[in-house]
Amino acid sequence: MIKVKGLVKKYKSGTLELAVLKGLDLEVKKGEFLSITGRSGSGKSTLLYQLGLLDEPNAGEIIINDQDISKLDSTERSRFRLNELGYIFQDYALVPELTAFENVFVPLLMQGLEKKDAENQAVNAMQKVGLSEKLKNLPSQLSGGEQQRVSIARAIGHNPKILFADEPTANLDSETAETVLKTFLDLHREGQTIVMVTHEPEYAALTDRIVLLLDGTIGSDKRNH
């Protein structure tokens, strides 16, 4: 499903150039729940940004579903993100002036769905994350865990092929974090491909496979049983 070959990402800071990803190769199979771990600065989030098309690598190839996405222009990348990918941010990243329902509804509307269909799909996604009672709440009226579940609902609302999650439990207490993890596991059981960045070993242990990044390269790639 995802094939990454020789991925390089460098950042410039004044005259200095810092390589964060140094020729990384990776493959993710359909339906796999992969966790990417590593210390701060190891390049976990940077890798996710490249895979999730939020950033462009300096070199290398990213092939998703046999499509080389590194060759897409910005409009095509935007459309690809909209139709094929779901993204969950560490800080939930909900739009504050939209209700929980509207946060989920907007990408569906953008896909060009009929309003009624988009509404039904958004409600279904909210039901899936157990928030059908909070449709009309603004993000400010929700707890951190609820906001993150809205963020998940937004990411899965359009049935994406791959779900990317960037440290989705980092801002949550352990009880809420487990609820969120349970949601991911439920989605995975339904066949959802998930790539999650986490620094929590116990959450990584719940996934199919753990990729440990060390200084921009893959340090280890273990499969859980």
Partner: protein
């Protein structure tokens, strides 16, 4: 569940749909006082656009209206340059009265003369300059003149003339010191004249002692520097026994094209005996020049107002977009097309402009204009009104909306164009 794709996700219809959806939510969920403030700014900008230029044009329009109402009428007939009066006056008056679109006709006899107050004292003085004023002496039919020019309404002291008044006159306010409070050799004035006082009028060899019955004031210099007699008496004084007059003024029925009436009179050959002009033709040149000058000034000020409006909207939208930079990044991150986000900001700015213009239009046409029509601003040389036509205002609204559209789009594009990840991470 069967899903139906309404449209291409990046098709214009879908971009508008999503942009509108986002704009409505942003406006609805913004702080109410922020919205009130922005709409107030847009209302004031609109008022600045319409009222400042409208008052400037209205200032001169007030003067034009006064000249038309109190002096020239709709059609102004005067003597030819080489004649001292209008020949065939009676026929012209009769022909004008027979035209269906002519509502009223007033004829005036005019002679230059001299008027003096305290003339008995003056005889003892070495110089009598201060109490002797050269002016136009006008003979009118009080009823006809009142119908055409509303002269009775201009009497600010004393009473209006009646048909049988003899040796009684109306005196223009600009001939009196009490109403023209400055000393100028161009405008000599009579020092102490009150209602009931006797003044001496000299026309050629004829000298009459008359009583001041009323004082008129109109902000039209030609009227305010005249002495009015009843026509019968003046005709005798100047020996105009052929009934030929010096000015004929016509008041036309509403919506009558004055050019058609002018052409009808010319068609009868009366232009051989008189100069026949519409009010616009007869307007003094300085008024025409001032009209153009004030219209130009109004346009310049409107243009400045428009630039101010555009900058205001630019700042409002820029601040709005820059403070939401992270969320713009998130929207892009989840696949919302940048153009839809830009449209959301354009819709917001157009919404604010529409609200501002709607409130502004109500204030202009519902409050300010009716008020100023009833209570004109008392400028020294005119009763200033607000000139705001529906078509002129519509053009200003259209221009304001276009300016707002551009002023909303540019800052939105500036922010939306920024790198998605940098926006999300606040870098």
């Amino acid at each position: 569940m069967a899903k139906t794709q309404k449209s291409n996700s990046s098709g214009i219809e879908n971009l508008v749909r999503v942009g509108f959806f986002l704009a409505v939510r942003q406006v609805k969920r913004s702080n109410i006082w922020t919205n009130v403030l922005i709409v107030s700014i847009m209302t004031l900008t609109f008022l600045n656009l319409v009222i400042v230029s409208g008052i400037l044009v209205g200032l001169i329009e007030g003067a034009v209206t006064a000249v038309k109402s109190h002096y020239l009428g709709d059609i102004f007939i005067s003597n030819l340059k080489n004649k001292s009066y209008i020949e065939q006056s009676s026929q012209i008056i009769k022909a004008a009265q027979n035209l269906p679109s002519v509502e009223a006709v007033a004829a005036r006899y005019i002679e230059t003369g001299k008027v003096e107050s305290d003339y008995k004292e003056n005889k003892k003085r070495v110089t009598d300059l201060d109490e002797s004023v050269g002016t136009s002496i006008v003979g009118i039919d009080p009823k006809a003149e009142d119908i055409v020019t509303g002269l009775s309404g201009l009497v600010i002291e004393g009473d209006y003339l009646e048909e049988n008044d003899y040796d009684r006159v109306l005196v223009g306010a600009m001939l009196l010191k009490k109403y023209l409070d400055f000393d100028s050799p161009t405008f000599p004035v009579l020092q102490k004249v009150e209602i009931g006082d006797k003044i001496q009028v000299t026309i050629g060899e004829n000298v009459r002692e008359v009583i001041v019955k009323g004082i008129t004031r109109s902000k039209v210099d030609e009227i305010d520097r005249r002495i009015f007699f009843v026509d019968k008496q003046l005709r005798g004084l100047i020996g105009r026994n052929d009934y030929n007059v010096d000015e004929i003024v016509l008041r036309l029925a509403p919506k009558t094209d004055p050019i058609s009436v002018k052409n009808a009179l010319i068609g009868n050959g009366f232009d051989q005996f008189a100069r026949i002009q519409t009010q616009e033709d007869a307007e003094p040149k300085f008024i025409k020049d001032m009209k153009q000058t004030f219209a130009l000034l109004g346009n310049i000020i409107s243009s400045i107002g428009l630039v101010v409006a555009a900058i205001t909207i630019f700042i409002v939208i820029f601040v709005n977009a820059i403070t939401r930079r992270k969320f713009i990044g998130i929207l892009k991150g989840i696949g919302i097309h940048p153009k839809a986000i830009e449209m959301a900001y354009v819709f917001q700015s157009v919404f604010y402009a529409l609200m501002g213009t709607a409130i502004g239009t109500f204030l202009v046409f519902g409050v300010i204009k009716p008020y100023l029509d009833k209570n004109p601003i008392n400028f020294p040389f005119s009763d200033g009104i607000l000139v705001a036509t529906a078509s002129g205002t519509a053009i200003r609204i259209a221009v304001l909306l276009i300016a707002t559209f551009i002023a909303g789009l540019i800052p939105a594009r500036m922010v939306v164009k920024q790198n998605t990840l940098d926006s999300i991470l606040g870098r």
